[in-house]
Structure formats: C-alpha cells, structure tokens
C-alpha cells in the first residue's frame, strides 16, 4: 500500500508584475495616480490539484512559461501558494537548475561540500559519497579548480551527481538533461531509473518527449498556468505531441 507523499490542493501562485520592474520616480507618480502600482497581478498557476503517491514518477510538460518550474518550486517550498495548500511528507532533493547553488569562486571539492549541506545532507554522508559523486561526474582531474572555470556541462554533471548520490526520497529535476552530452544524458537517465526502482519519487520537467515517455508513469500537461490534461503517460503524450 503506497502512501501519498505530495498533495497540492487548489493551489494558485500569484506574482505582482509591478514590483519586478524598476520604476522611476516619474512613472511611480503616474502609476500611483492610476492606482496600478501595486496591482498588476499575474497568475503563474491557477487552481492546481495534484496527488503523488510514494514511488511514482511524474512528468510535467508544456510550453515555456506554462508554470512547470513554478509548480516544482511550490512543491520544494521555495514559493508559497497564494491560495490553496501544498503538503509534502518527505525529504525533497531539488534540482531546479543544474549548477545552481554553486559558488563560482570555490573549487569543485569545496562546492560538493557546500551543495550537499544545502541539500540537507550531513558532513559524514557527503564524505562517504564523495568518491561516488566525483566518479559519476567524471571530474577527478578538476576537483581543485574553481567552478567558474568549469564548462556548463561539467557544472551540470556535478550538480546532478550531488543531488542523486544519496537516494533522495523525492527528486525534483527541472530540465536536467538538456545541457550534458548524449552519453551523460544516458547516464543520468540510467541513474534516475535506478533511483525509481529503489522507491524514489520523481518529478521531472523536460521538453524531450522521449525522456518523459521513458521515465514517467504519469504526466501533467500545463498550459498558461492551468492543467490542460493529466493522466497516464501514453494518453497525455499522444495528445500533447499531436496538438
């Protein structure tokens, strides 16, 4: 009997576009007069419902800006829902952008420690898995080089390697396969399949329909912040690819 590990109920995320902009004084006054200064709302997500059982693998598809990453940030806990609720009963290992959270000035070795701690591992766990992380990322030679001199592929390999070394309860992967080369992509897919077989819950965003079909049992198709379709991979992906 599997338990529900993530529950999103009627969740909406609202951004205020007005405050993202750099408003000059003149504009500020004119907008204040028209009362639109603090009131240019934009719903990145509207009324999303999602229930994920432990061990399931979910794919999220949709165009750029359809709200996939926002939904993952909501589940990670980085964003709070404007309406509705999000409940997560497990430890999330977020991989929202490969190489995010690396400090460019620090070396690969130092970044492994830092990134692992940020992901919630203990020092002992990181040290224990250190060799695995390095071997999987194929970075033995560059460990003591500052990350700023790494290529984007090297950074993403390292990021993926750290986030997946510990068999996370919930792995959130946003476009992780897009930067590595083909061989590394296959390696990542294989690692994710191993994790899935081990009981990890996977939330996976990708623009590659083939990867989604290969890795995910269920798919949610988002379109401008709302659910367009949600169900088994085959059904949804057939519609999605024929749209």
């Amino acid at each position: 009997m599997s338990r529900e590990i993530i529950r999103v109920e009627d969740a909406s995320v609202r951004f205020n576009l007005a405050m993202q902009k750099n408003v000059g004084i003149k504009e500020y006054v004119s907008k204040a007069l028209h009362r639109e200064l603090f009131f240019q709302e934009f719903f990145a997500l509207r009324h999303i419902d999602l229930s994920v059982m432990a061990g399931e693998s979910w794919g999220f598809v949709g165009r750029n800006g359809s709200g996939k990453s926002t939904l993952l940030k909501l589940i990670t806990g980085i964003l709070k829902p404007y309406e509705g609720s999000v409940t997560v009963n497990g430890h999330v290992s977020p991989l929202l952008e490969l190489g995010a959270g690396f400090d460019p000035e620090l070396t690969g070795r130092e970044n492994i420690m830092m990134n692992g701690l940020i992901l919630g591992m203990t020092k002992a766990q990181i040290q224990e898995h250190f060799d695995d992380i390095v071997a999987f990322a194929e970075l033995e030679k560059f460990l003591d080089v500052p990350i700023k001199n790494y290529s984007s592929g090297m950074k993403s390999r390292l990021g993926f390697s750290i986030a997946t070394c510990m068999k996370p309860e919930i792995l959130i992967a946003d476009e992780v396969l897009s930067t590595g080369d083909r061989i590394f992509q296959q390696k990542c897919e294989k690692r994710m399949q191993e994790l899935l077989a081990d009981g990890t819950t996977l939330l996976f965003v990708s623009h590659s329909a083939a990867s989604v079909r290969k890795l995910c049992k269920k798919v949610m198709w988002l379109d401008s912040g709302s659910i367009k379709m949600c169900g088994n991979t085959d059904e949804v992906m057939r519609q999605y690819e024929n749209k």
Partner: protein, 266 residues
C-alpha cells in the same frame, strides 16, 4: 505569544540542523576574502594594525596633547566602531547576494545573514590580536577590569545582529537602503568619538552623542576597561544592553514579518 514560541522553537531546530552549513558558509566567506593573496590570513591582523598606524600618524599631532596613550585610545574605539559598521554593512547585502541560492534551494534565509555576521566576529577576533600587540608595544598593563569586556562585546553583538537583520530585510525590498546606510555610517563615524575626545565637543553635541549614539556606550566601555582600568559604569552597561535588546527585537520581528515575501524581491 504561542506564535512567538513556535517561531523560537523552529529557529532553534533550524540552527541545529543547519549548523554545519553555517560553518561552511563562514569559512567560505573567510576563504574568499584572502584567496590568492600572498600574505593570506596575516592580513586579518596586519590590516587593522596598519590602519591604526596611519590614523595614529594623522591624528596624533591634533589630539595627542589632550589624550593620554593615544594609540590605545584610538584602537580601543576603532575596533568597536568598525565592527559595528562593518558587520551591519555586510549583513545588509547578505540576502541579495545569495539570491540565486534562495531561488533554487530551500534554506532558511537568515542563515546567510547569520553567516556574514559570524565571519565578521572572526575578523573582530583577529583585530583583538592586533589590539593586544598595540597594548604590548605601548606597555599598557592589562588589569582585572578586562573581565568585563566580554559582557560589553556581547551587548554590542546583540545591537549589531538586530540592526543587521533589519537592514538585510529592508534592503531586499528597497535597494536604496544600502546607499542610505552608507551615508548614515559616514555621518555616524564623525559623530562618534573615535579619534577625538568627546570632551572637546560643545555642550549640546556632547549631550546628544553620549545619550543618543548607541556606539558611544560600547566605545566608552571598551576604553574604560583597557585604557582607564575601571569597571564599566552602570549607566553605560544599561544603555548598551537596552540598545542591543531593542535592535534585536526590531530585527527579529521584521524578519518574521517579511520572510515569506523576501523570495519575490531577491
């Protein structure tokens, strides 16, 4: 009231959970500061010592006659004041500069502010070593009154931590804060008797500085214990504590109020 306890409980739990990360952030800050410099950590001690030498050279001709043991007077005040401005300025930018981390991972935001604060404390420790060298060279005896210094420093830490927390939040919402605060600290420096003696000020300025400048209490107490070999007066201790407690309450309160909104502004 219950809510406050819940916040406190969560804060303590987070502190234990994220303690290794905090350690790592602190050592990152220190490492980055001195990486690729030949003298490295020696700068921690050398820098305050050299600044002190320069200031001593510049100001001694002006104020030496009125102040005994001017190098110690200068250093005892300078190290306190530069901790106050240095730590708060570094905390003011702590949330913005870690924005990319905040957007991609989930860690309590105050850990970045706390890490910057702690690395400033480490630097303060180094400046104490430099101060000890100055005491040695000037042959200033160290008396039992030094035992009161930790209490003084603790009060100052409270003050800086609260003020820094407050600045870190407000600076995230309105970036002008860091510029304004830069100006404020410049004015503050001239209104604080670091290189001059407060006695030379006219009566009304004297009153304002001694009563409404929080830095004055900490500087004065530091001089009392190191230079004048006296215990800190009760008035100074109380006012230093009140300033510290007030700022801590303000800082923690603004953090609790704003922490869920911060992510939208980094």
């Amino acid at each position: 009231m219950n809510k406050i306890f819940a916040h406190g409980y969560r804060a303590v739990k987070n502190c234990i959970r994220y303690f290794p990360l905090l350690q790592n952030l602190i050592s990152r800050n220190l490492k980055k500061k001195y990486r690729r410099s030949v003298l490295g950590y020696i700068w921690c001690v050398l820098n305050p010592l050299m600044v002190m030498l320069i200031m001593n050279f510049v100001f001694s001709s002006m104020f030496r006659s009125s102040i005994d043991n001017y190098p110690v007077y200068l250093f005892a005040g300078r190290m306190m004041f530069f901790f106050i401005t240095g730590s708060t300025q570094s905390m003011a930018g702590s949330i913005i500069s870690n924005g990319s981390l905040m957007r991609k991972t989930r860690v309590p935001y105050h850990i970045f502010t706390l890490a910057n604060f702690c690395s400033q404390i480490v630097d303060f420790g180094f400046s104490l070593i430099a101060f000890a060298i100055v005491l040695l060279i000037t042959k200033t005896p160290i008396t039992v009154h030094v035992l009161a210094f930790p209490a003084v420093v603790l009060e100052m830490f409270l003050f800086c931590y609260g003020l820094g927390m407050f600045l870190a939040q407000t600076n995230t919402f309105i970036r002008d804060v860091s510029y304004i605060y830069g100006l404020v600290t410049t004015a503050w420096m001239y209104l604080t008797p670091i290189f001059y003696s407060v006695e030379i000020m006219p009566a009304n300025a004297h009153y304002i500085i001694t009563h409404f400048n929080p830095a004055y209490a900490y500087l004065q107490m530091s001089r009392l214990v190191f230079l004048y070999h006296q215990w800190p007066t009760r008035n100074l201790l109380v006012s230093g504590f009140l300033w510290g407690a007030l700022m801590t309450v303000v800082g923690v309160f603004t953090y609790i109020r704003s922490k869920d909104k911060l992510i939208l502004y980094v």
